[in-house]
Amino acid sequence: MVIFLLNPVLNAALIGGGTALLMGAIILVVFHYFSVEKDPLQEELEGVLPGVNCGGCGYSGCSAYASALADKSEEDTTLCTAGGQDTATAIAEALGVEAGTVVPLVANVFCQGTCEHTHERYDYTGTQHCASANGLFSGPNSCTYGCLGFGDCIAVCEFHAIYIEDGVAKVNHNLCTACGKCVKACPKQLIQLIPKHELATNVTCSNHWPARVARSACKVACIACSRCVRTCPVNAIKIEDNLAVIDQYACIHCGECVEVCPTKAIHRGLLDGPCAVDEEKKAAG
């Protein structure tokens, strides 16, 4: 007890430092004797997953998905959208089960109302976000269903897969991993995740107005003229609420509807991206 007769500052330092040292030592000892080995299977799975933590699988991150797979609470090996088929196969190999098939999804913007096809109803000078512009009379765009082009989707995309061209968001389908963040970010609900093969024939419009109004708002809007419905050889198209809808299970991607559409609202798009655009520009210029 002699030491505690020293001056009070030294006492405080000794007690504080001593406690810290003691606790550190105890933790070291306990951790040494009670260490638990991490499940080697989980570590292997973590190595297989891409590690981008996009949350596309529905878990909070790659390690959460790996741990769910490792303790058998999750059996679906195809949930990783960023990795696709390769990752699903690798996971199945690590787990020793049969690999499921991944239907690769991709985000697509269902609007092609660029500046040249639409006009502005008023001069919007507010915050440059889709959500804010949408709050002011549904945004300045003449078509209130259409893309506002301020890029809220670009801000959330971690893969730089979205870009704005002539005031309309476009998805680089080669970079897109279908994590689904842009789908939530778009205030107009223009972006959807669709199976990649469905890009082949698409009604790239979300406008539900009747023909005359739709036409005056946007030159490439679907005007529900039913020509595609009559042309389709497999009756895969129907008009729902003034918008043509293609039944992708029935569609044979013959391209007839693309030909007859008077407003070019049906899009015959394959994989789209900046590279493709650059090449088009080169060819044009």
Partner: protein, 196 residues
């Protein structure tokens, strides 16, 4: 016995840890989305609260107080609580895996939780004896559990309510928490009528 009951009731209802003293609010907001998380966290808090009192109480009264270093209690208590929780976590993970599954993920959240530290400091401040201090900690944990369960119920009702866009998420949650807290003011005076 009567004294113990008075401590228990006053800590649970009148000086409720979360709703009157506003301690542990972050876990109160963060973990009340479903009953399972609220349950796990509450049980973990009660457990750690008791263990931490059992350790910090003797440290204060037999080491710090005799050498006039009472003012160091905050620093020392944080250190001790954090270390104890870490050690407990490691032991539970190795020795009782089912228990670790039920409350293990909440233990790291508790290492520097203000609710635990707050109760330790209050126990010292009120000059309780050891038995009363343990009872007060247990009661504080029960009070925390009560607040968590009540608020989980409130939030599950809010899931289906039509909330204005600008109030969705945190704003409405904080306001609901405030109203629940105000409702607990109604318990003032309960002790006098129960035991007086």
């Amino acid at each position: 016995m009567k004294e113990m009951l008075i401590i228990l009731f006053s800590v649970v209802l009148i000086d409720n840890l979360v709703l009157s003293r506003f301690l542990g609010v972050c876990s109160f907001i963060g973990l009340t989305k479903d009953l399972k998380n609220a349950m796990g966290m509450s049980v973990a808090v009660i457990f750690v609260m008791m263990v931490a009192t059992g350790i910090t109480y003797p440290i204060y009264w037999s080491i710090l107080e005799p050498i006039n270093l009472g003012y160091l209690q905050t620093v020392i208590f944080i250190l001790v609580i954090a270390a104890v929780v870490q050690v407990l976590e490691a032991i539970i993970r190795k020795a009782f895996p089912p228990l670790y599954k039920a409350m293990g993920i909440f233990l790291p959240l508790i290492t520097t939780n203000c609710a635990i530290l707050g109760v330790m400091l209050i126990n010292i401040q009120e000059i309780y004896n050891f038995g009363s201090a343990m009872m007060s900690s247990f009661g504080a944990g029960i009070g925390y559990m009560l607040a968590m369960f009540l608020f989980t119920g409130v939030r599950s009702k809010m899931e289906n309510a039509d909330i204005p866009e600008f109030m969705k998420g945190l704003p409405i949650t904080l306001m609901a928490a405030a109203i629940v807290s105000v409702s607990f003011m109604g318990f003032k005076g309960v002790i006098e009528n129960l035991f007086g």
